[in-house]
Symmetry: C2
Subunit: 311 residues, 2 copies
């Protein structure tokens, strides 16, 4: 699947991914009102507002970008109704030729990780049939439980030619609390480096061309750590959250890329989907929110392309 | 919510929780056939087989136990249809007076953890209404992202008088890969102790009587580590997976308990729900699987009660 992602990145000239993380407060009132009028102020009403919002944004930007990253929590908060719309969003984006990275951060003991893996990336045996649950192209995985919690995902990746991004160094302020702890070794190193090293090892058995189908999540907010991790995991694609709203800028991101100009894909969520709420794009207004998103994608592409040219 | 869990434990005399982790291979053929005949060999067919299996087990054992722990991955593998049955299971168990621990192992950056927290423990604002998604009593939480990924759960716990169990030292074989790493400090300590210490801190602001609503997961398979962690988190209830099928025995577990006989709740999943597949309970046969589960619960209660008496 990483080869398909790379194809899409080359075709669009944009190593970016748009986070479809639709909190209700980002959704223009006219869409909320319409959904509530039809379905009530219910979980279904909320989910249908999310769907209307997503669809208009996807239709407006899908030709510009290689991939989307729906954050499942933003759907799961609306229970089953929200997850129906998560699935609908995954399917719709795939129809549009987008690679879908399910930001699910799952991870458990072996047999349980296996269930997550078949539910999100593979298929499950039911009698004599095989059925697909959510069927994303990639998902994010939490490594806290160690190899036997991660390997079931890799097994399914190999069977299905799909991929994962393992959390290595996350973008949030307190990510250092455990991830940065210096681990006592011959040369003391922070935990995230140990995790990064494991990602490189896990990835060796799951190659998809030049790069591995096992990637890593490293926050844009930690560029110095990104530099080290880039070298430690040369064949891992790095999914970089934290651009824009969380504070990362194009110039901070160049070290996440390899010399071939590949190796990283930068995520922006709020900065794109709620662009119409920013002063910069206020002219579009709530009615034309999807056009504001398109303008924000174009600006992000330009920022990153320039940063890569000037590296 | 921890006070209610303690009440239930005292009433039943059993510090145990039954893991409702229904893989299809545990479900007797007659239930699968019936569900497939009605709903086809589909995700819905599988989910309905799970529901029929769960309901019969719950009906058979609910008077003996204080709590259940459905593992959401086993439902999520069947997509939306599976999650409908997860929700139905949560509701049914609550109606039966059981405390429900959703084993979801969620955890993300702040705003995203907040969405998981409202979806699983709290309620979400939709227009002028507040709606509940899955509405478990407790959930399990992955701490890899640090305090700002955990605190949104604690906030909702305080608002809703609910609780969480944070992964500290998990029961699986490779849990040591990252969790046991010695962290360089004044006195070098494994990472899980640092996490355990944080759990104690986080829990101080979320008390539910003598114990905190912030508990910890520590695997039965690591009794020595359990002993240390018990002292490090005196007010945290410890959820102990790994009893039975994963190899833990009653006698290994006494150190997870405090002197008051409380402070731990021991989980068994396969050992109870698939008891009829074990030589010990084979006499029941597949038709009477729920009676086999009842016998296995009684045996587990006895094993743990004796171990606690002989400590």
């Amino acid at each position: 699947m990483i080869d398909k992602l790379i194809q899409n990145i080359k075709r669009t000239g944009a190593p970016i991914v748009v986070g479809l993380d639709p909190m209700l407060k980002y959704i223009p009132e006219h869409l909320q009102k319409k959904a509530f009028a039809e379905y009530g102020e219910t979980l279904q009403g909320a989910a249908e507002a999310v769907w209307a919002f997503n669809k208009e944004i996807i239709d407006s930007i899908s030709d510009l970008i290689p991939a989307v990253k729906p954050q499942i929590a933003m759907y799961e908060q609306f229970g089953v109704e929200g997850l129906i719309v998560f699935k609908r969003t995954v399917e719709y984006c795939k129809q549009k030729g987008l690679i879908v990275i399910g930001d699910v951060k799952r991870g458990d003991i072996g047999s349980t990780s296996e269930a997550y893996a078949v539910g999100h990336l593979g298929s499950v045996q039911v009698g004599n049939s095989r059925c697909r649950g959510f069927d994303e192209d990639f998902i994010t995985v939490n490594p806290y439980l160690g190899s036997d919690g991660v390997k079931p995902f890799i097994k399914v990746c190999n069977e299905e030619k799909k991929g994962i991004f393992v959390l290595v160094k996350t973008s949030n302020p307190s990510s250092g609390e455990f991830q940065d702890r210096l681990v006592k070794e011959a040369a003391d190193r922070p935990l995230y480096e140990i995790v990064g090293e494991k990602v490189a090892q896990w990835g060796e058995d799951c190659m998809g061309g030049t790069y591995s189908n096992v990637g890593a999540v490293v926050g844009a907010t930690y560029p110095e750590q990104g530099k080290v991790l880039r070298k430690l995991m040369p064949k891992a694609f790095i999914l970089v959250p934290g651009y824009g709203a969380q504070g990362g800028k194009g110039a901070d991101l160049v070290h996440f890329f390899n010399e071939d100009g590949l190796g990283a894909i930068v995520n922006s969520s709020r900065g794109i989907i709620a662009a119409y709420k920013q002063a910069e794009y206020a002219e579009y207004g709530a009615e034309r929110f999807a056009e504001a998103s398109r303008a924000a994608v174009l600006a992000m592409k330009k920022d990153i392309a320039e940063a890569l040219q000037n590296r």
